[in-house]
């Protein structure tokens, strides 16, 4: 039994069309997967479905053997699945420390919460320096670090990360990937959606390629980019070379 089992899931927003048209993904405990695919493939929607933020219309999502589709987002979080959304969803007017404390809202022991905040600040020196700074005044990279530190506070068994490097400078992108690697080293399972395909796959054991809400293909991370279908997936089915009169 895999830690996370997504079985033939269909999902969409409101009364809109299905964005996921039957997605199936498995992640074993302690393993990581990177989901890639062109725009509109359903990558973010897959993460949101697991986190309970998008209603699953058919199919099943199981975590540690139990069905979690249909549970509320907070119930899913309590089971050990933590979602770091693309917009980071920080509390902009709270300080770094307050943001970390809010992340640990569900930790009942004050001593334990304090210990975890201290550990997070130790793990992220940039945040320790800025513990009294408001989140909104920090750079995009620093905010992303804070979003990841918040997740770290909860020690999830499965971390869902949506496009953590979007809009960040190349140097900062490397720092974000380094943090995700450190999370993996602790045995945490990670499900990552990343448009930097090569580096995203470098952070994962297994790659899943989605296309138009369906599984395209999957395999060991290093095999994905070697697959000739990648070109077709991103740039469309090959059209015959032709010289148009119009040009």
């Amino acid at each position: 039994m895999a830690l996370l089992e997504i079985d033939d899931v269909r999902a969409g927003y409101g009364s809109g069309p299905d964005i996921l048209n039957g997605v199936t993904i498995r992640i074993d405990e302690g393993r990581s997967a990177c989901i890639v695919g062109p725009n509109g493939a359903g990558k973010s929607t897959t993460l949101k479905a697991v986190a309970g933020l998008v209603k699953v219309r058919s199919g099943e999502i199981r975590f540690d053997g139990d069905r979690i589709d249909g549970l509320r987002p907070d119930e899913i979080l309590r089971r050990g699945v933590c979602f770091v959304p693309q917009d980071r969803s920080l509390f902009p007017d709270m300080t770094v420390r307050e943001n970390l404390a809010m992340a640990g809202y569900s930790i009942s022991s004050k001593g334990e919460l304090q210990r975890r905040i201290d550990e997070a600040l130790e793990m992220f020196p940039i945040l320790a320096e800025r513990r009294t700074q408001r989140a909104r005044t920090m750079s995009g990279g620093q905010q992303q670090m804070l979003a990841l530190a918040r997740a770290w506070i909860l020690r999830p068994r499965l971390l869902l990360v949506d496009e953590p490097t979007m809009g960040l400078a190349p140097q900062v992108v490397q720092e974000v990937f380094a943090v995700i690697q450190r999370f993996r080293d602790t045995g945490m399972s990670v499900m990552l959606v990343e448009h930097n395909v090569k580096e995203g796959l470098g952070c994962a054991d297994w790659g899943y390629v989605l296309d138009l809400g369906r599984n395209g293909f999957d395999g060991p991370s290093e095999s994905i980019l070697a697959n000739p279908s990648v070109r077709e997936l991103y740039l469309g089915k090959s059209v015959a070379r032709h010289t148009e009169k119009i040009l």
Partner: protein, 263 residues
């Protein structure tokens, strides 16, 4: 796949000379709070062509669209349409110059009927329209024709908010046609549209193009765009990577790398 180095910023984008351009975008740039969202962007749209504007998320495609249609003012560069400079003109003047557009997220007037939504997009014709009561009748007739053309006759008296997402895209197309544009710019016409309606939309685009209407289309459905377009402009990081026929673009390693976040 061989790794390809990022294009040097100064490299002139490779593009074939276009004999009869209806739209010429030259060295277009814009900054948002110090970030250059689009820089030195140059491409042409041949008269009577279907030209696609593609590129990964954040490439600057919609920003370029918004500059062409006057919603954003470029900090540098020029946009000539049929020989007329568009930079500095207001959106309604650009519509009058012959450019119609639809939006990525449809913008229908939900409480008004489908027919009314199209009628209101008729270009104002000055004083005559105020005096001549017959003008509106003429416009209603044209709106009915256009709604028939896009296959929405059956829902013509329904409030626009009751339409499906794909139907709203068709409604926008009909609305854009009211002003009899020479060129129509479509921002993601296929996004969120079911395959049946997508066929309808595609067929209408081809039909209009055969009647001489030029199209500039931003779209992520690559199978659609590559089979439909005569020319493809590729943007990445706010710059034009290349412009060429679909088959050449599909085989280009730099284009693929841009999509894979490796450029």
């Amino acid at each position: 796949m061989k790794p390809t180095a990022a294009q040097p910023p100064s490299a002139a984008p490779a593009r074939p000379a276009i004999a009869d351009p209806v739209l010429e975008v030259e060295n277009l740039s814009i900054e948002f709070g110090g970030v250059r969202a689009v820089r030195d962007c140059s491409f042409s749209v041949a008269r009577g062509s279907i030209t696609a504007l593609i590129g990964p998320n954040g490439a600057g495609k919609t920003t370029a669209f918004n500059m062409i249609t006057g919603l954003l003012r470029p900090s540098a560069g020029s946009i000539r349409f049929d020989g007329v400079e568009l930079v500095g003109k207001r959106p309604h003047q650009i519509t009058r110059a012959g450019i119609g557009r639809t939006f990525q997220v449809t913008r229908e007037l939900g409480e008004m009927t489908v027919l009314e939504n199209v009628v209101v997009q008729a270009p104002a014709r000055g004083l005559r329209s105020l005096i001549g009561g017959g003008m509106l009748a003429h416009e209603e007739e044209r709106a009915r024709e256009l709604l028939d053309f896009v296959g929405l006759t059956r829902v013509i008296d329904q409030p626009a908010k009751t339409l499906s997402y794909g139907q709203k895209k068709l409604l926008e197309l009909a609305g854009a046609l009211m002003a009899e544009p020479k060129m129509i710019m479509l921002d993601e016409p296929a996004g969120g549209v079911n395959p049946r309606l997508l066929e309808d939309i595609t067929a209408r685009i081809v039909e209009l193009n055969e009647q001489g209407v030029t199209f500039l289309i931003v779209e992520h459905n690559m199978d659609l765009i590559m089979s439909l377009s005569h020319s493809v402009v590729v943007m990445a990081h706010g710059q034009v990577l290349m412009q060429d026929v679909p088959a050449v673009v599909q085989e280009d390693d730099a284009v693929l790398d841009a999509y894979l976040g490796m450029a």
